[in-house]
Symmetry: C2
């Protein structure tokens, strides 16, 4: 029986899942009864990483407060990205690498956020600080998270610390980071078994900026046209989500992982800000974003600024 759940954000990506498993492992090694869980379905990339390093999927938990009273958040801190009932449990730790917003506690806690490219880069420090050795398979997961978040070290979010951490972890895991990384990214960009609804929710995050609410969904692709040719059908789904959630803006971003560019479909009553914010023409609700691959560094701050 676990006392503490460790989990990443809704619509979990590779970092959220691998960080939860790795940090729960560390916590158990130093005496806490911690269980990694997930808040949603896994994408193909994460499934590829789990299979490669022989891990089961963490258990899906919808209402965390029914089982535990204390939780540890990894890879997120914003309330709307967390468990629905996050307000009913005590957050005792946060390990993250995102902006801080919509987070509040009544008591002091351990909150460690660093402006690096991946949560597991911070976890590597915590393993060392706690004097806990990293098993090869955990190192493999941690490496997978860095490769995923940094698009194989090409994203502007990738820091020298992430590269150094990946090198160290690849050695422990005994894998070739480049070769394994490209295979993992390609597995994630294989959208052939995905419905349009899947694409929409695979890696989608909601944000607030002043009184505005916006959402940015992102999918990686080898050929962006595989997705963009279905724009009209996607727009119907996007309009539904906008209406359901009362969003002011919804950006659906398709990122070309080989050439490091993105195309976004933008809808919502404040989609008017996109052209000015990104200095790129919106034609037929679509905008080209050359060199843009990072939601965190190149999309969310730009939209937040424009909406504030």
């Amino acid at each position: 029986m676990s006392n503490v759940f460790v989990f990443g954000h809704k619509n979990p990506d590779t970092d959220s899942i691998c960080s939860a498993i790795s940090y729960a492992y560390l916590k158990n090694e130093i005496g806490m009864q911690a269980e990694p869980i997930r808040l949603g379905e896994l994408n193909n990339e994460t499934l590829y990483a789990l299979e490669k390093f022989a891990f089961e999927q963490p258990r899906l938990v919808e209402r965390v407060s029914e089982e535990v009273s204390q939780v540890i958040l990894v890879d997120h801190n914003e309330r709307q990205q967390s468990a629905e009932d996050i307000g009913d449990v005590q957050v005792i730790e946060v390990i993250d690498h995102h902006r801080i917003a919509n987070f509040e506690t009544t008591d002091p806690l351990y909150f460690r956020a660093e402006p690096v490219g991946c949560t597991t880069t911070i976890l590597l420090k915590l393993f060392k600080e706690n004097g806990v050795e990293i098993p090869a398979n955990i190192a493999g997961l941690m490496l997978s998270a860095i490769i995923s978040d940094s698009l194989l070290f090409k994203s502007p979010t990738c820091t020298p610390q992430d590269i150094a951490a990946a090198r160290e972890l690849a050695e422990i895991a005994k894998v070739d980071a480049e070769e394994y990384g490209l295979a993992m990214l390609k597995a994630g960009a294989d959208l052939s078994n995905k419905t349009l609804e899947d694409l929409m929710s695979l890696d989608s995050k909601e944000f607030e900026a002043g009184d505005h609410r916006f959402e940015v969904a992102q999918v990686n692709a080898i050929d962006v046209n595989d997705v963009i040719t279905r724009q009209k059908e996607l727009e119907v789904l996007m309009q539904q989500i906008i209406a359901e959630k009362g969003l002011d803006l919804f950006a659906f971003v398709v990122t070309d992982i080989l050439n490091n560019n993105s195309v976004a479909i933008v809808l919502g009553r404040r989609a008017d800000i996109i052209e000015g914010a990104f200095k790129s023409s919106v034609v037929d609700n679509r905008v080209l974003l050359p060199g843009v691959v990072s939601r965190k560094k190149q999309i969310v701050p730009v939209i937040t600024e424009a909406l504030s």
Copy 2:
């Protein structure tokens, strides 16, 4: 010319000032042009510590955005406790040991909060992580902060980490922690040169809980009656502050640093919650709080819970 200001909260206490000086020193050692500043007048305890270790007062800055565009916060994160124009600058780092609330950024940052008794306990780790040696006089300041925040290790906020850090710092600073610490606390509890207005603002912090705003002022005393005999005059000032700031509750706490108890004067339209929250009778707007010395751990969470 400094590029970055480092500062603690308004109505600065010893931790806020000593952390700002110590962390700015560390930052300069690793190549940042950082200057410690203060947001208000210093108390007698902090002045005693600065004099003991031969430091000047940091410069008082009212509007930080007129001089820098980037700042580092120590010993606080809540907006209403920070510089008035905090919204006009970029917070690039936070080192703190309080609850997290009313803090938001558009970009990722280095945010390190730990549930320990003092900010300088965290700073000691950062000196080590950065491989920077701590000079004796800086160690003295860091020790002073721990003694102040922990009331010479007697506060329930004091953790084994704080005690270990203090021992290490006392050795570097070459002082006897107990002897120096008691002298410093007594200097701080000397209220003879303080006006009633001084007492009110010396160490006062504002908080939000749901839609409520409350403030908790705290003074240390050798004899609480020195302060409590002036209750009627204090109440007049408190009512003024309640009206000016639109507070729902104002608690003025006098802490007996030798016996580790407190007496509080409580006013405001929600003062009705005090009796139930602290399970102690309020008589003539005054409540005895046996064993209560920590605003952070024993007062603010209790009031927050009761108001929420």
